[in-house]
Symmetry: C2
Subunit: 414 residues, 2 copies
């Protein structure tokens, strides 16, 4: 059986010392896609036999790089693989020119890295609706290839930033039958969700020996309970992408299904890492001053709990109340009601922090607003709802809605 | 055949001169439910034989007065009827005490007006989760009854206000077989949707002879294309209520179904009046500086168009872009994509005002941002989307998202 041996801290001002993942090398460069004077392209090269899993935005207006990644996920291959990411331009809503740009970049990367084009993945994040100057990227590929290093992951985390205020990384280690397996992940995002400049991109690397179907299954499961459980502003990007790469260099007994020894521990470590990265995105939410955890239980199903949690987390009235440090539980009741999920008003229990606010459809007789108000003054707000009608539960995370969000988004392109 | 002969203007600074509706009398009073120094209770008394139709919030946490109204709608009766509304307290999430309060008020109104309790309707709007001091209301019923006047409707529009910045009224007249039928309506609401203080309440009065089932059918149809097509902040109240009363005093040929002569014209006049009242609520949206009309066509169905329209109208990124006078069509594309409705990225056409912005999945070659930017400087913004895949269409209305909204809702209870 495996055991998680290390999980890095969450502090947003601390980029963790990420482990070298055997079989992955990184390089970054300033290609001038849109920004000047900073790196804006990263390349990661994966060793032969690496497996790749992915999770993508469900938007009906997905960007060209997303569609290309989706088409390539699932195939198994003994060759190497590569992921190239640019910031500054999303290559979204760019018509046939967008497809041409992806084709040009993936062909050039395949050529430089000597791998099949079907094993080259790309992401683009930044302004929407402008043609991607793909020649600026293909022009620097030889330099990128020459700069590849197994220690480049922290630079990669910086190269993919747009409106992010800090680079985001997390790590986990897990022991499987005496072998230490490492996982390192980087993310960008400052809304879940702001299509111009704040797409969420996540790249996870591990040296575990894990089959593509098993890795995909774990990633899909954990995406649903981590990245799909965060929201900054309810606006879903055209380009959200999570990709996980496993090089197989750790030499552990292969994980081919959840029944294999160590699979549970590896999955738990992967889940922890995904949760850390997801929380970092919310902490860097546009204009955010508070990190908010909403726990829903007693719902008719987990899906129902998820729906109720997101309804609360996305409510502008709940989010502005949190910004105002107001324990306004009436707005939580409203958000439960509008969610469309099953609820019985007279069975609802609500807690703010440790304070029992409401029970059985009305404010609790012992409730003192001063207690809840004290909790709201902190920067980590916990709201717990018990529907009292079933076993469904889910936790979601969000931030408050402040003048900072209006400043960033009303003035951004001006 | 009927003909609509008068529709009042929309200007928010102009409360229209509403017609006297034969068979309805109004009174208002300052009962001190929560506010001091202003009227906060209105009573309307309806003549015997009046029909009543209603539309209500679909929230799972509906307030006690809403549940009581819903249970009473649909019954036919030859007796009079009454509607009593208080502002300052929503009587929502108040447990069994809320039911007791509704029972006490409706019994007392029935007694004073000498009608069955089953014909007494109530609404409450204001703070959530506090017990309604119903004795303050029952104590003034005799005075209210004595003050009833057929000219009191504009005072009634003021008594039901909470955070509204102006009272809202609209009128329509329609000729049915030589008889003039009048419709007058009042509304309150400054979000569609803010559960503490901005519930939307609408009361419509007409002297038409119209059966309860016919009136209910027309009201339900028009609610769906007017009140259900506005949004300020996506937050659905626990107490939204639309009630329509028809006294039958106009003496027109009875309208029992949509096949009766004049039914089309009456329905059209009712729709116009509903749309005017709905627009007034958006114009008074919390913090609003722009009135926004979003027209969706070419969708796979009307329901799909509605979903896409509301996805655009509720997007914080679209709403902040409008506040910033930025023709940020990429955010419109994002909102279409996240709606969950069917869309083909490469068939989408977008217009801002008269300016064709994007066509076939990309920005139009002749597009000049200065043209769209000029439109965004106005206070009436028109965004038109053609999905290019079907015949479904819908128009929805919203306002921008500004610092004013944050000010009102982050600081409101403090």
């Amino acid at each position: 059986m495996g055991k998680i041996t290390a999980v890095s801290p969450l502090a947003p001002d601390h980029f963790p010392d990420l482990p070298v993942i055997d079989g992955v090398r990184f390089a970054t460069i300033a290609a001038g896609v849109r920004y000047q004077g900073r790196t804006d392209v990263m390349l990661a090269e994966l060793a032969p036999g690496s497996t790749v899993a992915g999770a993508f935005t469900r938007s009906a207006t997905r960007a060209a790089p997303v569609l290309d990644c989706q088409a390539k996920i699932g195939a198994t291959s003994d060759t190497g693989a590569a992921i190239l990411v640019n910031s500054g331009n999303a290559n979204a809503f760019t018509g046939k020119g967008g497809v041409t740009a992806v084709e040009a970049i993936t062909a050039a990367v395949a050529d430089v890295c000597n791998i099949p084009q079907s094993r080259v993945f790309t992401s683009s994040t930044g302004v929407i609706g402008e043609p991607l100057p793909h020649d600026r990227i293909t022009a620097v590929l030889a330099d990128l290839k020459g700069a590849l290093s197994d220690k480049g992951i922290s630079d990669a985390a910086k190269a993919i930033m747009t409106t992010d205020t800090f680079p985001k990384g997390a790590r986990a280690e897990v022991e499987i039958d005496g072998k230490t397996v490492s996982i390192a992940g980087i993310a960008k995002g400052s809304g879940m969700i702001a299509p111009d400049m704040a797409t969420m991109l996540v790249y996870i690397f591990t040296d575990a020996v894990v089959s593509q179907p098993a890795l995909q299954k774990m990633l899909s499961t954990h995406t649903d309970s981590t990245f799909n459980c965060i929201t900054v502003d309810s606006d879903t990007s055209t380009s959200d992408t999570v990709l996980a790469f496993a090089t197989g260099k750790a030499g552990n007994a292969p994980l081919r299904s959840m029944d294999d020894p160590g699979a549970d521990a590896f999955a738990a470590a992967l889940a922890d890492l995904c949760r850390q990265l997801a929380h970092l995105v919310v902490r860097d939410g546009e204009g955010a001053t508070k990190f908010v955890e909403i726990s829903v239980e007693g719902a008719s199903s987990d899906a129902s709990a998820h729906r109720i949690g997101l309804s609360i987390a996305n409510s502008p009235l709940v989010k502005t109340a949190i910004a105002g440090e107001d324990p306004n539980w009436g707005r939580v009741v409203m958000a439960i009601g509008k969610s469309g999920a099953q609820a019985d008003r007279d069975r609802i229990t609500i807690r703010f922090g440790d304070t029992l606010v409401a029970e059985n459809g009305w404010v609790h007789p012992d409730y003192q607003e001063a207690d809840a108000a004290a909790h709201m003054k902190g920067d980590h707000i916990a709201i717990a709802v018990d529907l009292g009608i079933g076993d469904g539960k889910k936790r979601v995370w969000t931030c408050d809605l402040t003048h900072g969000y209006i400043d960033i988004n009303a003035d951004y392109r001006s």
